[in-house]
Amino acid sequence: MNHPAGTYISDEIHRIILSSISDAVFITDEDGALTFICPNVAVIFGYSFEEVEELGNISRLLGCKLATKADLDEQRELCNIEREIKDKSGKLHILLINVKKVDLPMGSILYTCRDITERKLAEELAQRRQEELAHASRVSTMGELASGIAHELSQPLSAIMNYARACENMIQTNSREKEAIVSHLAQVCDQSERAGAVLERLRKFLKKQHQGVQLADLLCVVHEAIELVRPQANREGISVRVVAEQGVAPLRMDVIGVQQVLVNLLVNAMEANHASNSEGSSVLVEIRCCGEQKYEVRVSDGGAGVNADVADRIFEPFFTSKEDGLGLGLSISRTIVESRGGQMWYEPSDQRGSTFCFTLFDSDRVA
């Protein structure tokens, strides 16, 4: 061979390379008219070479507005455009498409399409499993909090019953205290709302569907999580304090996920306090700003701390020190945090107790 390797590529080699890979390659002119169609086009699209030739324009295969001329002129190459297309039989494919400006006699735009349908489906399945597991863990956490919640509900229900019966008695005895009756009835409404709020908070937390990312105030999310564990805390005489640095701005986050992590840490913290029987014990939630749109949340308890010989195993799935624990709480919490680009770790304390921390970014920055 007289030519250095790689510079001499015959049409034959071209053809062999293109037909051995599963990616589809097209070249078009500025208007999208197909000027080159790779021979393996049927692998992804189901259409034969000739059928594609007949379609004539790339938009018939990949849909419209894939890349504007202006974008292409400016960036030369547009990578990893995700697009759903239908093949000849109507089956849905998810493609990862690169569009590149080229300078060839036969055309000026090169399209390469990779079929990522299976990978995508596997990812989605994994994601769904993850959410199901997180949901199961939330349900299990709620189970631990059930008696506290029952108490939380029985308070307004008792009040409603008392007020309603008082009104009934007053009306039956022709009480003249109309104002008192009206006030009692207003209380009945208030207490129904109070009970409703408890249920609403539960319902949101236990929702199976993933809610996705939304703009929220971290401090509010922390307080909502505390409200979920409040009944339990009250029963056990544990106070929960929040210390937040100034200037915590709203950020985009997976609200339910963050709440789940918090509830889980709070429940653990309360159990640690309870187990060590410390009088007037408290749980502290700190929010620190550590960079723009980046926060560190720290949950500290006054319990006995994590035993040193198991400290590096506490985030493992199915590792638990609780008698009736699933051992999923911390492991799922860490997954939730990491899936949003954050970190989660445990800090032993010099004196008493332990601190669990996680970092939180604005989800837009991560993606």
């Binding site: 008696s147 029952a150 307004p156 008695n169 207490q191």
Partner: protein, 214 residues
Amino acid sequence: MDMEPVIYVVDDDQAVRSSLQALVQSVGFKSRVYNSAQSFLDDYDGVSPGCVVLDVRMRGISGLDLQEELANKGITLPIIIVTGHGDIPMAVRAMRAGALDFIEKPYRDQELLDRIQQGIEADVRHRKDAAARTIIQERLDNLTAREQDVLNLVMRGMINKQIASELGISLRAVESHRARVMERMQAGSVAELVQMVVIAQPEFAKRILEEKLR
């Protein structure tokens, strides 16, 4: 003695507290509400009869602590313990510590009102007994030593002759002391006298009976 009974509601939940007040007032009871066991202890003067409706779970002094505190102070106000779901061990402890009754949330209002009624009746009865005891004890304290000796022996069922011999005094002297005892105790018959001693000094009356049975 005819003071109007008062229902003392001690609960740290504002809504529960106020609604209980509304309920008991709607059936004609007087009531006072307290948001903590401590504020009730600070306020209660022991004068008004009535009963306490107490939430077993409260911050600060718990319901059970309050119960003990009242017992230590010698306040015998009947206590109705209100418990949430699953607090049976607490309820058991409360009953052992002398609560009149416990009632589990959610309860029917009539159930609670019935118990309140029983509580008030128990307290009124208790206060009457206590007042009677005080009066009888005052009369007993007014007896001379010799008259008390005679009363002791009358309680043991002795006739005058036996008493005279036991105390080494004349029959006439016994008759005279005995008449003074009946007069000072304002007893119309020996049976009445014995009843009075049984009420005021149940331990003493019991001891005499036990000696007899031995």
